[in-house]
Amino acid sequence: MSTTIENVACPFCGCLCDDLKVETEDNEILKVKLACSSGQGIFMDYDPRSRLPLVDGREVEWDEAVAEAASILSAADSPLIYGLSSSASEAQRKAVALADKIGAIIDSTSSVCHGPTGLAMQAVGEPTCTLGEVRDRADLVVFWGCNPDASHLRHFPRFSLTAKGALTPNGRADRVMYVVDVRPTGSSKKADHFFQIEVGSDYEVLSTLRLLVRGGEPSADVVGGVPVAELKELAERMKSCRYGVAFMGMGLTMAPARQLNVAELFTLVAELNDYAKFSVIPMRGHGNVTGADQVLTWTTGYPFAVSFARGYPLFMPGEFTAVDMLARKAADAAVIIASDPGAHFPAAAAAHLESIPTIVFDHGPSVVAAKAKVLFPTAAYGVDAGGTAYRMDNVPIPLKQVISTDRPTDEDILDRIIEAVS
């Protein structure tokens, strides 16, 4: 007899869609309804068999692996804890407790995606809203340097484009959509207006929009490849909409000028509130990367790039960010939780990571897992472990355990390492 679990949250991306129906039988997942293709993969491709941890590729008992991890961390002078974005907040809290105890540097994947967004927020603030406000009120949506059509597959139908809400009963027909990007994308094909801007011109285009919103006249006719007349039309729409929302992605954070781009957008949105209601929402990627920011902030005061080396938290992006720590060879051991810097980091950082002992928490295979000194094949939050995650708009969502498991959670193992480490 199969059973269907309703309202399951998908831990894949920052949308944390929590309306999935998961059909299970004999502790096996048979079918997942309503999930996008990425979400399907989270549940259907999951190998639930419990495995023993590995030390140097050799299967050992959990106690032995915990002791080995503790001994590595006890001996390390400058341990790094990194990842966190696909774990639950309960485990993220333990990761900070471990960093506190051993004087580690702790950083999340935020530092390689929306780290600049956090710096922009610290510089100018951030007028934002929850995704329900977008669904219910937004009549103007602007997607800048992001492509939800490929990255957040249910964002448009659930929240931002075709979604129907209290003041948007006709969904798509009630919204004007702009996309600003350096190349055409699936998202730009759905837009009413697409500005294909020149690479590296985001700041210039945003500044021009600020000028136009204030009633100024640019001296150029074309900015970043876009005719000023079209930018003027957008500025007028922004000033006269009922509820406007800008979504921004790594097209802004990882382009030249990085946080300056984002700060310019946030400032534009703030200034628009003198004319109309306007908000901005960063398109956070991993399922609980927002939770990593939240947890680090409430425990340390800072969202990422935190060092406990002096016994108290210090914040310094560029110094305590994982890529920089590794590329400078400043870490002599690493705990990697639910992410794969081995696959995604620049060569110099990835090379140093290979040269130091790593303690990896992952429920599946990864580059960093394959080279781990100690590998903990823990449970997957949202599949065979329950926990809490934060949606891209900071709304907390519970992750369900849909099948049972013998695997320990990240939280369990971190707790044991905290106990064992000196």
Partner: protein, 543 residues
């Protein structure tokens, strides 16, 4: 077992005003002397010391989404205020918006043992509870904002009072909240249209209801459900020169109901010359004095750095446009909103000085200390770490006059404050910092030292300088455990979270399932914490 022997006990709830007495502790509670086996009790000699219950803060922003956004927004604010890791203590960041571990430690160092989180949007309640779990040394609870809640406003518009009451009861359970909070009723909903409210009878866009109806309805519901704490209100027009008038109108509108008006200083201004507000504390205090079921806290401005953070979105936008600088806004679907603006209160700024004067006047003009409680609306008007300075201002007229002489002349000239010679006694301080807020919260085991009370105890060295005295308690006990000595925190213990569980017609749950499909982007099951086994809150009975 523990005995604190021979101290001067200030326990207004039990009519002790400095008499020499012994306090006995067993299993985390205060007990009668007979229950103690003195052979095996640890004895603390409190001769020459002042003994009070642990402090109770009725209104502070210490955890949750908005506070955490404030922490993140201000890295510069933490620097220089670090808290170092030790075997017993977690590291942390201080400043105006401290990290959770630092918050618990800092409160311990002031002798405070219970703090209520002043506002949480129910949609974000899980976040608040996660942070409360990471906040040591404090018993706590969270107030749930409902003054711009769509379901409440629709029920009022439909004249469905019972439905509104069942919903509020359900919502308090679903969010594991402690009390009903109202913030700028209707104004935050209107802010989502770029507007606000300015009168009690203004209309809320899309609902046709008024701030007056929202406040009356929620006050009635709090009474009907016999919630331990009254409806907790941040009214309309905060910070505006019309605020004293609308505060007095609000007090009249709530006539006959229990109510708590928070940080009333921010809502006690009239129009002064040249766009500088003036204090209307005399008129507001008079209205408070005449309302037997009303309590207030002040939200005293303290000169220096602060971080304003409220669920009052339009206020924060206005403040951003006035003060400049960084601005956070967060509109929360169906429920609430809010914003953050960092600020500095300067004695030489005429507006800031007027705010400072207004707060002190309220303290000194409200006759009954059981009606007015010590707060800074942390971190809005200043941080809780400044409470000892405020205590000195209330207890020491000379100090007050000296400080008044140093503030901007526009606030000083003609200020009623200069004529007020009232000085608070230690008993009065014990009321406004412990006994009074505990009673107003309906926390029967807090704020006093009678048998059965929680063994939350603060012991002070009496000094002429009351700021120094209260800044550095000799001993602080939380549930009978020594958590701080000589103003230095020693250890971390877990706090308890209080919640309420009022009854409701179970049919409201079906209404909610339907409502959630239409009104929220989160499913009913994932919003409500009704069946949450992980709940670690402790229910305080209604009635």
């Amino acid at each position: 077992m523990l005995g604190i022997i021979g101290g001067r006990v200030y326990d207004p709830q039990n009519a002790k005003a400095g008499e020499i007495g012994d306090i006995w502790v067993k299993d985390g509670r205060i007990v009668a002397a007979e229950e103690i086996d003195r052979e095996h009790a640890e004895i603390v000699d409190a001769a020459g010391l002042v003994v009070m219950a642990g402090g109770v803060d009725i209104h502070a922003h210490i955890v949750g989404g908005e506070v955490n956004a404030g922490r993140k927004l201000r890295p510069e604010d933490h620097r220089g205020h670090e808290r170092t890791h030790s075997a017993a203590l977690r590291a942390g960041a201080g400043g105006t918006v401290p990290s959770t571990y630092a918050t618990g430690q800092l409160y311990s160092e002031l002798g405070y043992t219970t703090v209520m989180q002043a506002s949480t949007a129910p949609l974000m309640a899980r976040h608040t509870h996660e942070e409360l779990e990471d906040t040591p040394n404090l018993d706590n609870g969270a107030f749930m904002v409902m003054g711009n809640n769509h379901f409440v406003m629709q029920s009022i518009a439909d004249k469905q009072f019972d439905r509104a009451r069942d919903y509020v009861a359900w919502l308090l359970r679903a969010s594991e909240g402690y009390a009903i909070k109202i913030v700028n009723p209707g104004g935050v909903e209107n802010w989502k249209w770029g507007s606000n409210v300015s009168e009690l009878d203004d209309e809320v866009i899309g609902y046709g209801v008024t701030p007056r109806q929202i406040m009356e309805t929620l006050a009635t519901i709090a009474d009907d459900l016999e919630l331990p704490h009254a409806v907790h209100i941040h009214g309309i027009n905060l910070g505006r020169h019309t605020s004293a008038r609308t505060s007095i109108e609000t007090i009249k509108a709530l006539d006959g109901h229990r109510a708590h008006l928070c940080h009333l200083q921010f809502l006690s201004y009239g129009a002064g010359k040249g766009h500088v507000h003036k204090s209307e504390a005399v008129a507001v205090a008079q209205a408070v004095n005449a309302s037997p079921k009303l309590t207030v806290d002040v939200g005293q401005v303290v000169f220096g750095r602060a971080t304003t953070m409220t669920c009052d979105g339009p206020l924060q936008h206005n403040l951003h446009n006035t003060a400049g600088g960084r601005w956070m806004n967060d509109d929360v679907e169906g429920e609430s909103g809010g914003g953050i603006v960092p600020i500095v209160y300067a004695p030489g700024n005429p507006i800031n000085a007027t705010m400072w004067v207004t707060g002190l006047e309220l303290y000194l003009l409200i006759d009954d200390p059981w009606k007015v409680f010590l707060t800074t609306d942390h971190p809005n008007a200043g941080t809780f770490s400044n409470y000892p300075q405020i205590i000195r201002l209330l207890m020491d007229r000379g100090y007050r006059e000296e400080m008044l002489a140093s503030v901007h002349s526009r606030a000083r000239n003609g200020a009623v404050l200069a004529e007020l010679d009232r000085e608070y006694s230690l008993s009065d301080i014990a009321v406004i910092t412990r006994a009074g807020p505990a009673r107003a919260l309906g926390l029967k085991d807090k704020g006093h030292l009678g048998a059965g009370a929680d063994a939350d105890i603060a012991v002070y060295q009496e000094q002429d300088d009351k700021e120094a005295m209260f800044a550095r308690p000799r001993y602080v006990y939380k549930g009978g455990e020594l958590v701080a000595r000589d103003g230095v925190v020693l250890k971390q213990v877990s706090g308890r979270t209080f919640s309420v569980a009022p009854d409701y017609d179970p049919r409201i749950e079906d209404d909610m399932r339907a409502h959630f499909k239409a009104a929220y982007t989160v499913s009913y099951d994932n919003y409500a914490m009704l069946a949450d086994d992980a709940s670690c809150t402790e229910t305080v009975a209604c009635g």
